[in-house]
């Protein structure tokens, strides 16, 4: 079980939206984690690496320095995390984006590609979770 957190999630979403808008206003870039990470992996550092570093640093400071308790549980074990990572990496590369690039930035621009991509990955994730939890009874 995880607790339903409507206000914290709405506020968290608004912060993500703010970051997305600021990266466009200042750098003229889409804040898609897939695109930014792929750039860093293929040697384009600069603002991309700084953006990723900031995204890692904030949770580190919030939990270690401010001492906030953040719930975290990974229902999947290590072998399945590896499988999942490979599938996600291949999928987002062919699909041209993920939950941030398509799901937030693309949908906020009303991009047809992003709307379709979002429908595809939301449905396939839903079917996968249903299959794992209710058909085969967990991994």
């Amino acid at each position: 079980m995880t607790e339903f957190t409507p206000w914290a999630s709405l506020a968290g979403g608004a912060l993500i939206g703010l970051a997305v808008v600021l990266l466009m206003a200042l750098h003229g870039r889409i804040a898609g984690m897939t695109g930014v990470l792929t750039g860093v992996l293929t040697g384009e550092r600069g603002w991309r690496l700084a953006f990723l570093a900031g995204a890692v640093l904030a949770p580190l400071l919030i939990t270690r320095v401010l001492g906030a308790e953040v719930p975290f549980a990974s229902p999947a074990g290590w072998p399945w995390i590896l499988v999942s990572g490979l599938l996600v990496g291949i999928g987002v590369t062919f699909g041209g984006g993920c939950t941030s690039g398509h799901g937030i930035c693309g949908n906020a621009r009303l991009s047809k590609r992003s709307i379709l991509a979002t429908i595809c990955f939301m449905l396939s994730a839903g079917v996968t979770v249903y299959g794992i939890r209710h058909l085969i009874g967990g991994l």
Binding site: V20, A58, G85, F94, C120
Partner: protein, 137 residues
């Protein structure tokens, strides 16, 4: 200056993911478990982000150019193809298996737990493999 600004924007992004509960794979997976322990939080994260993003993009993209660049870098592609659909379906399957997506796992690294690191290592390998496959085509 662009680098410092990007780091600060990244911090806002990471804080949003953490506050929204999206660095927690159990919470993400429970969003999809409508038939079980449903937790609709992810919908509120998307809603909040889209509301701010939709209005903010409209204001920003009206301007002639971004502050640190000569132009806005918007995706040029507008065609629907099998790569978009197949890739997105594959991403959803991977996302549904462990509850990690790129935007959740990168801030998740800051929690200093092994799972996000493991996921990101495999995902990075997946990205590089897919780029080789695509390049060879």
């Amino acid at each position: 200056m662009p680098v410092i600004a990007a780091a600060l924007i990244g911090m806002i992004f990471g804080s949003g993911i953490l506050l929204g509960g999206m660095a927690n794979p159990a919470k993400v997976l429970n969003f999809f478990d409508v038939a079980g322990n449903w937790d609709p939080s992810l919908l509120f994260v998307m809603g909040g982000a889209l509301a701010v993003g939709f209005i903010g993009y409209r204001l920003v993209l009206r301007r002639p150019r971004p502050v640190f660049d000569t132009r806005f870098h918007l995706p040029a592609k507008s065609t629907i193809d099998t790569s978009l659909i197949g890739g997105s379906i594959l991403f959803g399957i991977g996302w549904g298996i462990a509850g990690f997506c790129p935007g959740g796992a990168i801030p998740g690294l800051g929690l200093l737990r092994p799972e996000p690191l493991l996921f990101l290592a495999a995902m990075s390998a997946g990205i590089l493999i897919a780029r080789r496959i695509r390049g060879a085509r």
